[in-house]
Symmetry: C2
Subunit: 150 residues, 2 copies
DNA sequence: TTGATTTTTGCAACCATGTTGCAAAAATAG
DNA sequence: CTATTTTTGCAACATGGTTGCAAAAATCAA
């Protein structure tokens, strides 16, 4: 985590944001590939790192980081939204794979949703896809991935 | 709408639910194929049909109808959930197409998400897909579908 | 480095919505 | 039609989104 401080600082500055402790921790939390957290999970994690964090401050920083496209919201189901570091992806909405074992949320840009999959006459503007299952690493019985959670 | 009262009553009874005015109106609202409404939209529509509806009553009935699988929630984006009449579909999650012109939400069971679309080792348990675009009817300039909204 | 300026934070406060308990009203069964 | 069960509407509380404002922190310039 410590090794990434410079990278995180650069990322924030590149996006025109001042560097504050909360922002650094927020980005650090989501820095790990596959990491995607709910607001509650973020709140609990920040609690540990920084002591209690004001919910308004968290709210404003999440909103700001979204505006600056540092992070994205991903609706997992009707009652759950996760936050994820925005990759260098062009499209806002690209497919994700959620591993029910290790809880990682991985980008799956190779999965394409195209008009020829639909009946005639339908035009696609964008699409949103989440695939739920078990990822390649967790799927090897000999070398199971540690769950991120717990 | 009137012609459907018997069908709606049967549907409710088949699911083991008593028939009340709110439940009938709720199902009637979502009866039209492609109809999918947010809670706010439902609230406003019921307002017109029944006068003001208590939000707790609406909340409890939506929850009940979901438990009985009469309706489903569909997360459209991070801040929007729509309710839709549950079809005779086996799988809870099946692809939908949302028309940005007429606002209809159509089931697209012909679109399949399969493991061979993923890198090796990934196993699919379920998937959730919403395609945003223009539907076949709205796509014919000569005969545009009336928007459901307005 | 220090002090001035700008930005961010933390708090009070408000609103919308989820959720429960309870008594009154409505639906169902006999 | 009446008795019983279910549902509704209301009060009340919890949670999370949202704003304004003063204190604290970060940035900038000398």
């Amino acid at each position: 985590m410590v090794a990434k401080i410079n990278e995180i600082t650069s990322l924030l500055k590149d996006k025109g944001l001042n560097v504050t402790e909360i922002r650094r921790q927020l980005v650090a939390l989501l820095w790990t590939p596959g990491s995607a957290l709910t607001q509650k999970e973020i709140e609990e994690a920040l609690e540990q790192e920084l002591g209690s964090v004001d919910r308004v401050t968290l709210y404003r920083n999440l909103r700001l980081l979204m505006e600056k496209q540092v992070i994205h919201q991903i609706p997992m189901d009707a009652q759950t939204v996760k936050y994820k570091l925005a990759g260098a992806h062009k499209k806002v909405d690209h497919p994700h794979f959620h591993c029910s074992h290790c809880d990682k949320l991985l980008c799956m840009p190779q999965v394409k949703i195209e008009e020829n999959m639909l009946p005639g006459g339908f035009v696609i503007q964008s699409s949103h896809l989440i695939i739920e299952g078990v990822c390649d690493l967790c799927n090897i019985p000999q070398k199971p991935e540690e769950p991120l959670k717990d």
